[in-house]
């Protein structure tokens, strides 16, 4: 026994650590039983079939064009959605953070309002708006702006629009939280030192809002990777995302191993995205804990 263990403050600290662990135990147990174990089971299924190890399900990523085309389309849609939510969300968050409180509450409520409507309902709402005889096409053809209705839905375009609508709050909220913490004095100081508004924004405000921006981008990108209902309903059958590849492998081909391997690869992709983002800003900031 060394002397330090008898140190009362250290003993106290240990007791506190043990208590914390005890408090964490239920949540930890739930995560292990309901998340970690099933995920391990999933990974196991992708390499173990009929009593032996196999990498056949992973080899398909090399040989089967359906696989990498689905991943390609999923990543492309995720990139487009992320980019457009930045374009749409940044100004909204900027105005909300700078406005008087009652205005910012109003703006944030409007951002969150659609959030409380089911994804399914919103997909159908977009269908009503975007389809051939839908509200938008009727208005455009009725006013003589176009001769034939535009193909706005049942393709990647419609999928992207509806996905942006669903994920916009995930961009606006982290941005708003970060912008709210940027002291107004800093931009004022920048202006008083002779910087033009644009210059101040680019050199002072934008860099300080970067953590929120990256957090929002990571959230939107990762959530899009797993989208299912929206592309299924609005993609017209030709938008083929990874989640649909998983479901089709189970429903149509009854290939649990293949479905598991696709899920594992998608999960690794998500981890890689988080890893990349954490090189830019600390992980805790992405999750909004600090």
């Amino acid at each position: 026994m060394t002397k330090s263990t008898r140190n009362p403050s250290e003993l106290h600290e240990r007791r506190e650590q043990r208590l914390m662990l005890l408090l964490l135990a239920p949540a930890l147990l739930v995560i292990v039983v309901l998340l970690v174990l099933p995920l391990l089971w999933l990974a196991w299924q992708s390499i173990w079939q009929d009593g032996r190890f196999t990498f056949a399900h992973y080899e398909r990523f090399m040989t089967d064009s359906v696989y990498w085309l689905a991943f390609l389309q999923t990543f492309r849609i995720a990139a487009i959605v992320t980019l457009l939510t930045v374009v749409l969300g940044y100004p909204v968050a900027y105005v909300a953070a700078g406005a008087p409180q009652r205005w910012s509450i109003l703006i944030l409520t409007m951002v969150l309002l659609p959030f409380w409507t089911s994804v399914l309902v919103r997909a159908y709402a977009w269908l009503i708006l975007l389809q051939r005889n839908g509200i938008i096409n009727s208005a455009l053809t009725g006013s003589g702006l176009i001769d034939a209705p535009l193909r706005l839905v049942n393709n990647e375009f419609g999928t992207v629009i509806a996905t942006i609508h669903i994920l916009l709050p995930f961009m606006v909220l982290p941005l708003y939280a970060t912008m709210k913490k940027i002291p107004g004095e800093l931009t004022m100081a920048g202006a008083s030192l002779g910087g033009s508004p644009m210059h101040v924004f680019l050199r002072v405000f934008l860099p300080l809002s970067l953590p929120g921006l990256i957090a929002g981008m990571v959230l939107v990108f990762v959530l899009t990777l797993g989208f299912y209902i929206t592309p299924e309903l609005l993609g017209g059958g030709r938008t083929y995302m990874v989640s649909m590849l998983v479901s089709r492998n189970i429903e149509v081909y009854n290939e649990w191993g293949a479905a598991s391997s696709i899920s594992v690869v998608l999960m690794i992709c998500v981890f890689l995205v988080f890893r990349l983002a954490s090189l830019l800003i600390p992980f805790e900031r992405i999750m909004g804990t600090r």
Partner: protein
């Protein structure tokens, strides 16, 4: 006092309950749920239960196949009779998960055409994939055949097909001039080549029946292949939609029994009674899907007008193509399904 009364009442009801489950025969019947299973309950399940004096417990699964596999793998067989596409009964039978039917105990199936039966399954209910079109768009000259459906010059307009090769490949081959009685085994390469032609003009590949109905009702597409029940529902709502059974693809779901079913004997009795022409003739009163036993049309229970709307009436069956489940459950059929994914994606 009250306590005692309560105990007496409780034990009495428990005794009744136990006696009830012990003496009455029962089976667990599984179908696909929704309006379809509700209609069956009134048309078939309740009358059969009453006739045999058995209890029919119900379960539903949109796709029974994965559940059959799981029950067989775990050795815990819970289901007795399932209503599912014949191809699952056949491949399940070949893998030892579905029991061979003893047709000597199913006399009601005797007069059914051989094509409606397999060693493991017997037809229960018919539906059809038909060509539906918008009447306002085409007026007097609607597309009537799959060759018309493929003819984008003579019949301009938006089109939809199911996001699945079954019946779609058959339609492509008919459009390409293959005779209806020479379809099987399908020339898959030729079918995909013909589909490739039409692909730029197909605006939606639908995945659910509800979606196919919505596409017609909202005027999103001018013509599509869809299930007759869905089309009939849209017509009933007053949408300007027309369809005919000409060159339709007749498909059916079958009854089959799980290997090691807990109530095997009652299950066989159930299957036989469910195929009674008089009970089968109840189907058209509740839903737009036709009886599996054609004898039902001879009972006089189905009016000629209603029979004309039924996919399995002898007149309509004669102008349709019966989809070959054996081909679709064969390796060639499974390969065609796998090839489908890369076809729609590219």
């Amino acid at each position: 006092m009250t306590y005692r009364l309560c105990m007496i009442a409780l034990s009495a009801s428990a005794a009744v309950f136990l006696a009830g489950t012990a003496s009455a025969e029962q089976i667990t019947f599984v179908s696909q749920g929704g309006a379809y299973q509700e209609a069956q309950t009134k048309a078939i399940l309740d009358p059969v239960a009453e006739l045999l004096g058995i209890t029919v417990n119900q379960d539903s699964s949109p796709d029974a196949w994965p559940v059959i596999k799981t029950q067989a793998a775990s050795g815990k067989i819970i289901w007795d009779v399932i209503d599912t596409p014949a191809k699952d009964c056949i491949r399940g039978g070949e893998q030892g998960m579905i029991a061979k039917l003893d047709f000597s105990k199913i006399p009601n199936a005797e007069k059914m055409p051989a094509a409606y039966k397999s060693p493991y399954s017997v037809a229960y209910e018919f539906y059809s994939s038909v060509l539906a079109y918008n009447k306002e768009k085409f007026a007097d000259n609607p597309p009537k055949t799959w060759a018309d459906f493929w003819d984008v010059k003579k019949f301009p307009g938006t089109r939809a097909l199911r996001n699945h090769p079954l019946a779609t490949l058959e339609a492509a081959l008919l459009a390409d001039g293959v005779a209806a009685d020479k379809l099987y085994p399908l020339d898959v390469d030729r079918a995909f080549k013909k589909l490739e032609e039409l692909k730029p003009h197909v605006s939606v590949w639908w995945t659910s029946g509800a979606q196919s109905a919505q596409l017609l009702a909202d005027g999103e597409v001018d013509m599509e292949m869809a299930w007759n029940g869905r089309v009939a529902a849209v017509v009933k709502e007053g949408a300007p939609i027309g369809y005919s059974f000409n060159q339709g693809f007749l498909q059916y779901t079958s009854l089959c029994i799980l290997s090691g079913a807990p109530n095997m004997e009652t299950a066989v009795k159930f299957v036989n009674t469910a195929l009674t022409p008089d009970i089968q003739a109840n189907f058209p009163a509740y839903i737009d899907y036709g009886p599996g036993n054609p004898e039902a049309y001879k009972t006089g229970k189905i009016s000629p007008e209603r029979a004309a709307e039924m996919p399995s009436s002898p007149e309509n069956a004669a102008i349709q193509v019966l989809v070959a489940d054996e081909w679709w459950s064969s390796p060639a059929g499974e390969d065609a399904q796998k090839r489908w994914a890369s076809f729609v994606q590219q």
